[in-house]
Point group: C2
């Protein structure tokens, strides 16, 4: 049965189209419209590129320009415009998906758009399809456990500020640091205190043809790094062999 009038938040995974879930693939085939965040009129949408292999009709996909600046005003306006278009479709009983790379509740554009849609159309039925995150894909690529047994882990974006990093590394066996592109220098400074007790893995553009991985953070000094960049920090564990699992 075709879903009617539902607003779907669909995570399409970290980049490799095969890391989409079966449910994401099904829902995107069934819905009337797929809205996605785009950075400009040229409509470069990472999420839309990920779903390309599904072979969906191009006219079903509607890129929405969101200004990703941290100044709230312009961003808010982009969300409002997108939410108005989505709510208009929902009111007519059509089903709409908003796609995001990774997971829709993990550093995604979905929560603010859903909030705005609900404000405009309070009766909306919202369903969420979780997706594999870039952190999980990076760990899988590097063969490094995120957490085992009674270990804790933390995730934080570099914009959060690195001053709490030592405290989090003290509590958590693994810390994933997101969007590190402009933070390699201050990160190396912070990590100097830990000497060789921390395993470091830098991953950029995971799951795309431009994917890059290195365990030598120093080699990144002075390089221009992309927004989709993260560092896994793993405290050396008593039982660890110091060798990654794979590949």
């Amino acid at each position: 049965m075709k879903p009617v009038g539902t607003f779907w938040g669909v995570g399409v995974g970290p980049g490799d189209p095969e890391l989409m879930t079966l449910k994401a693939a099904r829902i995107l085939t069934e819905v009337d419209w797929i809205f996605c965040p785009a950075e400009s009129m040229q409509g470069t949408s990472f999420a839309a590129r990920i779903v390309t292999p599904l072979g969906l009709p191009a006219e079903k996909i509607r890129p929405s320009i969101l200004c990703m600046s941290r100044q709230g005003g312009a961003a808010q306006q982009g969300y409002r415009r997108a939410a108005e278009a989505i709510a208009a479709e929902l009111r007519q009983g059509r089903s709409v998906a908003w796609i995001t790379e990774g997971d829709p509740l993990f550093y995604s554009t979905f929560p603010p758009i859903a909030e705005e849609v609900r404000r405009l159309y309070p009766e909306v039925r919202i369903e969420i399809v979780p997706g594999v995150s870039s952190v999980q894909a990076a760990a899988a690529r590097a063969g490094v456990p995120l957490a085992q047994l009674d270990e804790a882990m933390a995730v934080l974006p570099a914009a959060y500020g690195l001053e709490r990093l030592p405290m989090l590394l003290d509590s958590c066996a693994t810390v994933a640091l997101l969007k590190v592109h402009s933070m390699i220098e201050p990160l190396l400074e912070r990590l100097a205190d830990f000497k060789n007790n921390i395993q470091t893995i830098y991953v950029e553009k995971i799951g795309t043809s431009e994917e890059r991985l290195t365990t030598d953070l120093h080699s990144l000094r002075g390089q221009k790094l992309p927004y989709f960049s993260l560092v896994l920090l793993r405290r050396n564990q008593a039982g660890d062999t110091g060798k990654e699992i794979g590949p």
Copy 2:
């Protein structure tokens, strides 16, 4: 082309078979053998139940009894026996997958089994397919963001000890607490200090027909809760409406 002699760690997602990735479904169809953790000779394997809808030949699936006790000895023996059987197949050029619910690097049986397989067969090629975790599925079901913008999040099992929880809640907007089945009373005590500043969501057996969700932790007092149980703790945010996104 059929993968040959590769050992695959495959996450099959949190419970709903549709939350498997396209890649997991493909690899499980292609490999020669699928090994999975089982709790007893009766072979009740949660991971194997998740892949049932793929309609794989039953004789391809080989449950391995792992003793899940925290005493290392018996557990180690179970892992060794499974790894020996896996390595024997790999040496003959056959491909083997080890399936785990959720993600293979997130509180899973895969890292210890992979380590043991590599010890027995150092030339092994290991590949890992990440999967949606129960934490992500719980957030999607509850309609609660895990992290947004410059927020941090943490995940810890109840066995870790709850004494660091206040510190982690101070640093992180969301804390996911796993395997809380025996920890509801001490958790409620810890949370009393936070008064009403923390949104709480308890989820058990997410993505199965026995799934249960409640925001009233007090109602769980005195109940026998299952192992697959978790609590999402989310600090009320300045911008939050206090209303979940969905469903």
